[in-house]
Subunit: 210 residues, 4 copies
DNA sequence: GGTTAATCGAGACGGTACGTCTTGTCTTAGC
DNA sequence: GCTAAGACAAGACGTACCGTCTCGATTAACC
């Protein structure tokens, strides 16, 4: 009843570390599609078996890797929604922009969605990877969504507003630019974005056509 | 007098048609990764050479295919921005939802981004495919952006508003749900989305634009 | 204590056997140029990788195959050079004649060098295949050359004679007919050949060796 | 009765010349298997059609080419069989040795049968090419065979001797070395060879064991 | 001088094998 | 039961080369 008794040789934590290290290095050097499991194993000084015992798939490994490597994005709730959102989204944007360059060989390819696109595809291929990715994002954004809820409670956001929909608009715009249009995502854009989302596009005089 | 005199045997338009037909059929039956060039060639009654002469890569072919197949989404400018946007975005959403199912074998996997994710990854892998995809989206959205511009000129949208940013918020939210969070994209969501974007999230009393 | 400790999974001897079996069957059914690696792999129930891990090329495989399959030609040293040579060369001729027919589809083509020509070409294309072939022939003929040496020691062959040159004349004539002139190689021819080689063509009265 | 009246545009003799020139150059630069029809056409400034209208196959073209290029080997009938044969065979050997080097890239590969092996294989693949090659060799050797006949009539060769068999021994040995054993074929070898063939290998005392 | 017919350059095409690549599994021996 | 090493199955990919075909443009010979 004590839980599962472990038998035999325990998994080497050293191997874990070496694998993740080598994998990260390789991923950032080559990019997603030119990342090769065989080479990752060799670089880590590990047998492929050891690698596949931990992650059932290249996709699983890389998603796990990115999840681990991903920057912790702190959320400060200062009471100024606009400012807090801007800071948070700028941090996200920075992270995304870094992902654009991963594995690209020198020549300018600023518009590429790079690794994020591959991760998204990986998530689409394996249901469980999808779950993991979604969980990852959910956890990451929990605090911001809470922040938005607080703002609404304080009266800084309109009552009828949905935190989710609002955040979809903001994060969505960033990912849309990254994955689809390839347009730049800089600080100015983030500021504009928050502005639009908070203020609304409709002309104020007649706030609602029915 | 108009152009370059063609030399040699011209490319068979018949082959083009047969390839695209067979490829589409195969793509929708199998999905992106189980789409096989060899079989596409056989089904089209065409040599693989003929296929690779036109598209240097499976990715190129499939992106071109989707570009061609993609539904024409009509844009009606009725003067009612909210309604026009809702209609347009609903059409887009319908298309995206259809892409979720492509190639899925029976088992429920509603949250998968399916083919769109693969196309996005393809665009990320090959710079030229990326260009094509971006051009495609640019062309597709030209009319809506114009519609938004008109609305602003009419005074239905605030003067300081950017059509691009506004549209990013809207389309972005859809793609974000499709590719990242996996949440459903239905008519109600689209309505909500347009609502938020037009009205803004900030509490109206003190419209804190600086 | 003897040698290198083997690491990793050892090569499957079963695979070796199945490959060679299937390949032989396929080769003799189809002939050299209609022998297809893909099919050989399938017939052997083996991945193509497994096949190419052993032989880097179709040429390599087929030469190795023929080397293995090649009839052991026994050499009997009865003390009667003429008879021994005749027996040996007849056996060789029989083998060569069999090779003429390999893979030929019904229609009479008796003059074709068939597979031997292809093997010779393969040997010419890859230096290492050439080495293998030469080694093969060297080993094969060792005993006959020894036999000739013994005969010379016994006084049955002239002292100044070279076993190599003598054998070149004999074997050479067979291969010349097979590969170049296409003329038949039957028992009568072999007898004639041995006769000429042993007796010499020059008129006996004045043996004009200088 | 004048023969077939030619209609339409006559074949360009210029094209013939350019093709053969370019083909020869390419063949000697690349060797048989890396000779590519496409490139031959380009180099000759000719369409592939033009090329295939003249020779139905790469094999046909190259055999025809070699036939044309092949050195005329003069046969002098001085009345000294031994000397005449030696001269003739040395000339042949020189030609064969030249063929060894064709298309070989710098690195030493003296033992390769080079192009001759490929020609022999080509002859084995297409019956008509085989006929052509055989005819070529037959014509080439007619004079030597006649020379041998004369020698026999003069009493310089034994009465029972067959010119064909004798010549098979001589030429065969050369080709055997070239195609099979890879051993060198130099002047000394040719002299030895003629010597053995004329004198015979059997010890003279008991010229014939029965 | 117009008609006819074969040739030419150019390059697409069908066919098909090749050898490579990568993934994920399996089999050894050793710890 | 884990590990290193590496063979293995599976299967798609893109390339290569051959020989054929389809254009439009020439180039004679015949009428």
């Amino acid at each position: 009843m004590t839980g599962t008794a472990r038998r035999g040789r325990p998994r080497s934590e050293d191997a874990d570390a070496r694998i993740l290290g080598a994998a990260q290095e390789l991923l950032f050097a080559r990019g997603y599609d030119r990342f090769v499991m065989d080479e990752a194993a060799v670089r880590a000084g590990v047998a492929k078996t050891t690698l596949y015992r931990r992650w059932p798939t290249k996709d699983h490994l890389l998603v796990a890797l990115v999840a681990k490597v991903q920057d912790e994005v702190p959320v400060a709730d200062t009471g100024d929604v606009r400012a807090d959102l801007t800071v948070y989204l700028t941090a996200i944007a920075t992270g995304l922009n870094r992902m654009r360059a991963v594995g690209r060989t020198g020549d300018r390819d600023d518009r590429s969605a790079g690794m994020v696109a591959e991760l998204v595809a990986a998530a689409a291929r394996h249901p469980d990877v999808g779950d993991a990715v979604r969980g990852l994002f959910a956890r990451r954004n929990t605090l911001v969504l809470a922040l938005l809820d607080h703002a609404r409670e304080r009266g800084d956001l309109r009552a009828g507003t949905s935190s989710t929909v609002l955040f979809d608009q903001l994060a969505g715009a960033l990912y849309y630019r990254l994955l689809v249009t390839g347009e730049p995502i800089d600080a100015a854009y983030v500021r504009d974005l928050v502005d639009h989302a908070l203020t609304g596009a409709a002309a104020t005089p007649h706030p609602e056509r029915n």
